[in-house]
């Protein structure tokens, strides 16, 4: 036993005194924008061409990892199956789905420790491409699209989405789609009470105030599922909301614990008031006045002040999660936030609840975030929707050139075919060709039912490229959460933002010094 100890000791001393690896790299002062050296194609040139010059694909098997878990994952697999059928015998794609909480570290571990099992394609978020590319995990797409004789023309894609996929001068991910959170409204309740469907922040506040005042006066008509406080009825019966037994009426519940508030609504509130979360230098920028206005607006939602646009609280404060779902379906609120992917479920539910009365067409309104959080609706920044983008990239462990070209072909297929079942989950296609095509997109049932309300991709904003995406989004979300709970209600929003900003900058600096 002593020998083992001695060996260990000896080895550790050796390790300490030994020099290993290389010198620390010179820190670049480019902030958060990744810089990559110009790409050198080290793949195995094993391309075989036929007499016409076309590439022969002989049973190429590729593996794709995707951040899309169910239900999106299942829809994606449908598209992949169609591709596999179209390219039978030539190219076959196998998919693997894992959630974003673990997929990135697993990707890194597998690529370095177990390259034979590593994926050839990675379907992930456009926002994270910067960090993954700076760690040399991906190879460019455009080169292989060219070699596949498909070519790449960036004008075919939504400019902001495709620009974010460029690192340096190469395209490192092919943009597929973008999505955000939506507001679902009880059209029937609004109409019955003589209120319009709001289209701007001012209108939303006015409508909500009116709803609360009617409820307080006992004059608000509502209907929906049974609630514990009301004698059992059914979804068709109109009743007057009784605050004495049903409690205070809140027209628009919201919780900072819900993912859509943290990832889309908070950021939309910031961007619509002229602010930003990340600057063009890839560093955090959320200590600006636009962010202040956005967070203050969300705080006023819960705790109205003398100067806020709304006189009444729109939501109970300190709700934990899943805010508004039960109330929406029981009629105890008129609006609630959910992901774009809930469009399908919500329209189906309202359809079934009020089939005889026009279903979702007459009873459900869907509003995208544009202008709903802008203090000044006339600003150009007011008409923006903050969202998440998806892009597909080729991983460096894909060693053969034929495989990389096959991967590019699949990526292109995906981009061209995301106008069908992919929109069921609320994703808007990044390809302008698809967007404008009736056959590929505009005629599909999901577009008709709900996706048409999700806005157009030129309204969408995503985070600019940054290798510090993780820290920045976390820092912003901490400030957002604190602004919306009662424990911090006496701390000004600007202080919360500055604290978070300083924290994030410290973390970034420590990471750079590592």
């Amino acid at each position: 036993m002593n020998k083992v100890k001695a060996l260990l000791l000896l080895a550790s001393i050796t390790a300490l005194t030994a020099c290993g690896g290389g010198e620390p790299p010179v820190t670049s002062s480019q902030g958060g924008v990744p810089s990559v050296s110009s790409f050198v194609d080290e793949s195995n040139d094993d391309v075989i061409r036929d007499t016409n010059g076309n590439i022969i694909f002989n049973n190429i098997k590729l593996k794709m990892w995707s951040v899309c878990t169910n239900p999106d994952g299942a829809y994606q697999d449908e598209i992949v199956t169609k591709f596999n059928q179209a390219y039978q015998g030539q190219i076959n794609i196998e998919t693997y789905h894992e959630s974003r909480y673990s997929i990135f570290s697993n990707l890194a571990k597998t690529v370095t420790q177990d390259p034979d099992n590593a994926p050839d394609l990675f379907y992930g978020y456009g926002e994270r491409i910067g960090a993954l590319v700076s760690n040399k995990l991906f190879v460019p797409q455009d080169i292989y699209l060219e070699q596949a004789n498909i070519g790449f023309d960036k004008s075919y894609f939504e400019p902001l989405l495709v620009n974010n996929c460029y690192i340096g001068s190469q395209l490192y991910g092919l943009p597929i789609s973008v999505d955000s959170a939506m507001t679902y409204a009880r059209k029937d309740i609004l109409t019955k009470n003589g209120l319009p469907i709001p289209t701007t922040y001012d209108e939303l506040m006015t409508t909500c105030d009116a709803l609360v005042e009617k409820a307080d006066a006992g004059e608000l008509w509502v209907r929906g599922n049974d609630t514990p406080n009301v004698a059992p009825g059914n979804v068709y019966t109109w009743r007057k909301y009784n605050p004495e037994i049903e409690g205070q009426y809140y027209p628009f519940p919201v919780s900072p614990g819900d993912m859509w508030v943290n990832a889309y609504i908070g950021e939309s509130a910031v961007s619509q008031n002229g602010g930003s979360i990340t600057g063009s230098d890839g560093m955090p920028s959320f200590n600006n006045s636009g962010a202040e206005k956005g967070l203050q607006l969300l705080r006023d939602w819960l705790l109205p002040t003398a100067t806020s646009k709304n006189k009444h609280a729109l939501s109970k404060i300190d709700l934990n999660y899943d805010a508004g779902v039960t109330e929406f379906y029981s009629g105890c609120c008129a609006f609630y936030f959910a992901g774009a992917w809930d469009g399908y479920g919500n329209t189906a539910k309202i359809d079934s609840m009020y089939t005889a009365e026009g279903g979702s067409a007459d009873n459900l309104a869907i509003m995208n975030p544009a202008k709903l959080f802008a203090l000044d609706a006339s600003q150009s920044s007011a008409n923006t929707i903050f969202g998440d983008s998806h892009a597909i990239s080729i991983v460096r462990t894909c060693k053969s050139r034929t495989e990389r070209i096959a991967a590019a072909i699949f990526s292109n297929y995906l981009a061209e075919n995301c106008g069908g079942v992919w929109t069921k989950a609320g994703h808007l296609p990044a390809s302008l060709i698809v967007q404008q095509s009736s056959e590929l997109y505009l005629n599909n049932e999901f577009f008709d039912k709900y996706v048409r309300y999700y806005g157009t991709t030129d309204q969408y904003r995503t985070m600019p490229v940054s290798i510090y995406y993780d820290y920045i989004i976390e820092g912003f979300q901490t400030a957002l959460k604190k602004a919306m709970i009662s424990s911090y209600k006496d701390t000004p929003v600007s202080t919360l933002l500055t604290q978070s900003y300083d924290d994030t900058m410290n973390r970034i600096k420590d990471l750079q010094d590592l």
Binding site: G21, G22, Y101, A131, K136, L137, L319, N320, Y469
Partner: protein, 334 residues
């Protein structure tokens, strides 16, 4: 030692020879046996645990990028210095904040984790009606993975519709407010964690010699005294084991507060040491891996200090088993 008794001055070469043979045979027997019995375990331990542990420890001296092998270089003690000594480093601040939360949690959880299951096992040992049912029920929560049971608790304590939340009144926000969240975490840890110790104590209590208990009650011991002076010393090894493993286990507290604390706005308030470490690994900042390893080793170092203190403190009192043996011997002879 065994060989001392064999040291006799040989009076002839034959005796000398016999003596040497004896020594050799005994030596082989002792160490050969040791090899046979310990060998398999030590093989797996060294190959599949010690060696990776060593490699992992080496990583802590490097800037180690888990995604990019070209981004690896030696840092010496820098990682440790940042974590343990540089007060303006975020690694220092988050590590020590995590340590503080961890130690407080351990101080509260460990005593309960030993005393509660012991009392429950003692109660079940009395064999009341339905004790088999109780045995199953009390162990049941430990069978579930905590990812599943945490979701159940989250649901029951949601302040909008969870009924347990309604029981406690609307002003307590179990999921948002850090101090109530900690209470929830502690209750959850005890609910899901004491099953194991409960079972160990149950088995241990069964091994207590009933003759001793009878003997002492004849001598006029009340049940409490009997418990403290006869039963407890008999199960001393298990007490020490449970205490020791509970400490190490809760110094590594992570899953429970990660899940139950998902909605707390300032994660620093519920972050334990392992939480801080796991959090570093979660995103796309792959170059922190060396720091992650260094933090884990630093945590391990402190756990080791605490464990050594525990072992030293519990080693001295050997009185119990000694008395018990003397008593038995005396009884048999008398």
């Amino acid at each position: 030692m065994a060989f001392e008794s064999l040291k006799r001055t040989p009076s002839s070469s034959l005796e000398e020879y016999a003596l040497h043979e004896e020594k050799r045979r005994l030596f082989l027997k002792k160490y050969g046996l040791g090899f046979l019995f310990l060998g398999p375990y030590l093989f797996f331990f060294i190959v599949f645990f010690l060696y990776p542990l060593f490699k992992g420890a080496i990583i802590s001296f490097y800037h180690y990028n888990i995604a990019d092998p070209t981004d690896i270089f030696f840092r010496g003690f820098q990682n440790f210095q940042k974590i343990l000594f540089s007060s303006n480093s975020t690694y220092f601040q988050s590590f020590w904040n995590g340590m503080k939360n961890t130690v407080i949690a351990v101080l509260i959880l460990v005593p309960f984790s030993v005393v509660l299951p012991l009392l429950l096992a003692a109660l079940v040992n009395v064999k009341p009606f339905g004790n088999k049912f109780f045995r199953a029920v009390l162990y049941l929560p430990s069978i579930f993975p905590i990812t599943a049971t945490a979701v159940i608790f989250l649901n029951m304590f949601n302040n909008n519709y969870g009924f347990l939340s309604a029981l406690f009144g609307n002003n307590i926000n179990w999921l948002l407010d850090a101090k109530y969240n900690w209470i929830l975490i502690i209750v959850f840890c005890l609910w899901s964690g004491i099953g194991g110790n409960f079972l160990i104590f149950l088995a241990a209590l069964q091994n207590v010699d009933p003759m001793l208990k009878e003997a002492s009650s004849i001598d006029g011991c009340g049940p409490t005294k009997r418990f403290i002076y006869i039963t407890l010393p008999q199960i001393k090894p298990q007490l020490i084991l449970c205490f020791f493993t509970a400490t190490i286990g809760y110094m590594n507290l992570y899953g429970q507060n990660y899940m139950l604390g998902s909605f707390v706005s300032d994660k620093k308030q519920i972050a334990t040491a392992v939480y801080v470490i796991q959090d570093l690994m979660m995103g796309t900042d792959f170059q922190v891996y060396g720091m992650v390893s260094a933090m884990a080793i630093s945590l391990g170092f402190f756990i080791m200090l605490i464990s050594i203190a525990q072992l030293v403190a519990t080693k001295e009192r050997k009185g119990g088993s000694h008395h018990e043996r003397e008593y038995l011997l005396a009884k048999r002879q008398g």
